[in-house]
Symmetry: C2
Subunit: 522 residues, 2 copies
């Protein structure tokens, strides 16, 4: 097998694990090191040693928190005036800053009226970040990620109309089960089923697809024309089965209808009560005194066994800090433009890492038309148009007003196009495309805000995206670090775009620094 | 088609809607009346007329609320000292009363430590009950109903070990898709697929099952042996595919693994923040002054065009109330033992209605082992043993203590057996069977409480269960009512066991009373 074929396999997501294993065996990748877990450093073990952390995002604050607990002298330099990095929740009165614009967020002030512009959900198995929520008492609630009452919409199928999620999902199951049931009946699968109870297998398939005597004629799972009620209102007809040709013509099934089964998307998904930045605030409460805000790093240099960082303050003056270790959590999209004397392989890694032009737009609606008109409580409707997703708020069910995310884009081509539009044109596009799913959209919505992460200073992208060549050739060097320089952040993981990647990579840095200290103290 | 065959069709759930339609056409059932919606009666239209409502459950309080708004003089007689009926949430210090026992609930007092003994979830399309939540400002949160991180367990399969929900669900999809893909390849389904793009259909099937070149070898949807991490920890091997023979031997697929796709179970499911009885309390705040508590109805008689109700007070004395209308929401399991002069068809209806011996048991755990050890946040694990389900709390994620529902039983044979056991033996059974899913169970759990609804005074059952003969022959009479007597409650609906049935049937009664008033006033 060629290296290229291997990388292709990884890229298409087929046989990924096998491909990685082969790549390791062929020497294209370093062998994985076991994750050492949340650091549990001896109290006082870091005394007398200084660490500078660049960036007060989640990775930087995790590193600062764990190192400070062990007695290291920690300084965090943060370019903005806020802790959290891309963990950012906007509320009424906040300002969204892009390279060429400033937007005042026009929501009312209310605990349920917020917009998680960056990460917005926590999978149940992301135990690093969830562990801090538990430790810090950050209240969590389930987030509705998959909603059978929401919609799919594609201009190319079903006359461009919206189609109910539960119909798409359950009719697909039914059609697949009916076809398989018929095939089993012909005997063509007898070899596959040898040694198994064929009748029981047919029962299994029938139950899976809600078949009626081997055929699929619709199911209550998909919904009713006439739902059962009180009095003399028995269950009426179920919704007619969707046309398979239309279903195949749609983009619903490429990944969207299976989205909620994904490793990082399946229930239980959670969010902090009140907004994702409750996590950032909980960290900031603990590491805040170590943070210097509005400190824009301009130069990173070795000095002796340690390093020196130069940063600018708001008054334009430059200051320097020297320390034994530097934990660099600045996104590589930003770091590559900061003067440094990293080793050549590190500089190559930093250059090689791509970033996603992720965008979101959010509106306050004066009434929750999605709840009142369409019985949608949280979750996502999927559009084949640029807006890609409509996210409904999990917070504040039944209240009058709500904030809906009218677009969530993570395709670079769409995101760059969207980001290039004047702010008003972005909102008009979101209204126009969203109206195909919700006719009430335009009437109920006021103002709105959008964010194009590749245009946000000190972020310059939504999250890292290593292509397979870069992952194989460039990434291992920066994982290994470079003398006093240790790198953390979501980009330093295979969990790019997730806060868990920031947490685990920060743990790696902390453990590496602690090990360096231990060896130096021997 | 014979009447019996029709009823069988309804009973097996196949072709239910068609069977009902045929039954109507054949005169076996009354034609459905359209639901008239939430009553919107003219203010003052009920003045000068008295209505007695029997029972301060959800149906009774809905009727009282709507009638009182229109000016009717409403009295609600409630046999217990609490409003809500089977909408009951237990907290530390509460007492669970059964015919032959009293249990003091031993949970700590904390907003997250409660146990919804009756209804525990609200489907998104139950707009009657949700409408009152919206109107009354009852805060709602999503409830985790389907959790891919929870377990199935059946002594008869997989050596009795627990099996991860996401493996069961996604391996089933993968196995079914692979079989179908192979069958399509043989051409045996060409006729079924005529007129369709066969390659695109294969892509659809492949995407559905996460196939790799037509075969299923496991998927990240089911989970990893080595999950991706930070640093040099790429996605490792996915979990091995479950053995199809073991899967077929298990009881996972009869309905349990499709449970979350059900019409009344699919996302979004909700619960009131703080417990289901927040709804009962919100009603009681509004209709409380009309309720006479501890009033046990002993006799219901016609008197003129109206009716007379006799009830006993705690001091043993009997009192009577006469009124123009009576809204009877007492469960038929209880009503059949109250002296009355209902018409013969009504009495037959009341006799014909069955009740479910539903049971639950709940414990306080001193630590949330399901979260800490098993990464389970809310949702349900399924057992093939008597306990049937373990429900994990959606409230209070990440807190130290939690209340887990260790058994939820709705099979009559199991429920009766469970209800007959001494209280301590019930809890021992729940611990023993639950330990097969959670080895930490016994260590973390203290005390506990259980409820067998068929032994609860003034309930005598979890919810109504009309068999098909009773639904066809007996139910229509009681829907029609009987002079001054109008019947409401979950049993007066095709939504038995759901509060929505109580709400909608109460609306029916209110609308019928209003129509009677309108005609009398002409």
């Amino acid at each position: 097998m060629t290296r290229r074929r291997l990388i292709q396999m990884v890229g298409t997501g087929t046989g990924t694990a096998a491909a990685y294993a082969t790549m390791q065996a062929m020497g294209f990748m370093a062998t994985p090191a076991a994750y050492a877990g949340t650091p549990d450093l001896p109290i006082g073990s870091g005394q007398g040693r200084a660490v500078t952390v660049l960036g007060a995002g989640i990775a930087g604050m995790v590193a600062a928190y764990e190192l400070a607990k062990a007695g290291y002298e920690v300084t965090v330099l943060e370019a903005t005036d806020l802790a959290g990095g891309r963990n950012r929740t906007y509320r009424g009165g906040d300002t969204i800053v892009e390279d060429d614009s400033r937007q005042l967020v026009d929501f009312d002030r209310d605990p349920s009226l917020y917009f998680n512009a960056g990460p917005a959900r926590l999978p149940y198995h992301h135990q690093g970040i969830l562990g801090y929520c538990r430790e810090f008492g950050v209240a969590l609630q389930p987030i509705v990620n998959e909603n059978r009452g929401a919609f799919f919409q594609d201009d190319a199928a079903f006359d461009g109309g919206r189609v109910l999620n539960r119909q798409v999902v359950n009719d697909s199951r039914g059609i697949i089960a009916e076809m398989l049931s018929k095939a089993v009946g012909t005997g063509v699968l007898d070899q596959e089923l040898s040694g198994l109870d064929k009748e029981r297998f047919l029962d299994f398939v029938s139950s899976f697809g809600a078949l009626d005597d081997g055929t699929y004629t619709g199911t209550s799972r998909g919904g009713y024309v006439d739902a059962p009620g009180s009095g003399l209102r028995p269950p009426g007809a179920t919704l007619p089965v969707l046309d398979l040709g239309e279903l195949l013509a749609s983009d619903f099934w490429g990944y969207k209808m299976h989205f909620g089964e994904g490793f990082t998307q399946a229930a239980t998904m959670m969010e902090p009560v009140g907004g994702m930045d409750m996590i950032a605030q909980a960290f900031a409460e603990r590491v805040g005194p170590m943070i210097t805000y509005n400190a824009e790093v301009s130069e990173i240099r070795r000095e002796g066994d340690g390093a020196r960082v130069t940063y600018r303050t708001p008054d334009g003056s430059a200051r320097t800090l020297t320390s034994d270790h530097i934990v660099v959590t600045i996104p590589f999209s930003v770091l590559r433009d900061i003067d440094n004397d990293f080793s050549a392989p590190i500089r190559s890694s930093i250059e090689a890492c791509g970033y996603v032009a992720a965008c979101k737009a959010a509106f306050q609606a004066e009434r929750r038309f999605w709840e009142e008109d369409d019985k949608i409580y949280g979750g996502i409707s999927w559009s084949a148009n640029d807006i890609t997703q409509i996210w409904y708020p999990t917070a504040g069910f039944g209240q009058q007003k709500g904030v809906v995310v009218g677009a969530y884009i993570w395709s670079n081509s769409i995101g760059e196009r969207f980001g290039d539009m004047p702010l008003a044109d972005r909102l008009e596009l979101v209204l126009e495309q969203g109206s195909k799913i919700h006719p009430a959209y335009r009437d109920a919505v006021t103002g709105g805000s959008s964010i194009a992460w590749h245009k946000v200073p000190f972020a310059k992208g939504g999250w890292a995206s290593w292509d397979d060549d870069a992952r194989a050739a460039a990434y291992p060097a920066v994982v290994a670090g470079d003398g006093p320089f240790h790198f953390a952040g979501e980009h330093m993981s295979y969990l790019t775009g997730w806060q868990e990647g920031s947490v685990l990579s920060a743990h790696d840095c902390v453990n590496a620094i602690a090990e360096h200290t231990r060896l130096a103290d021997l």
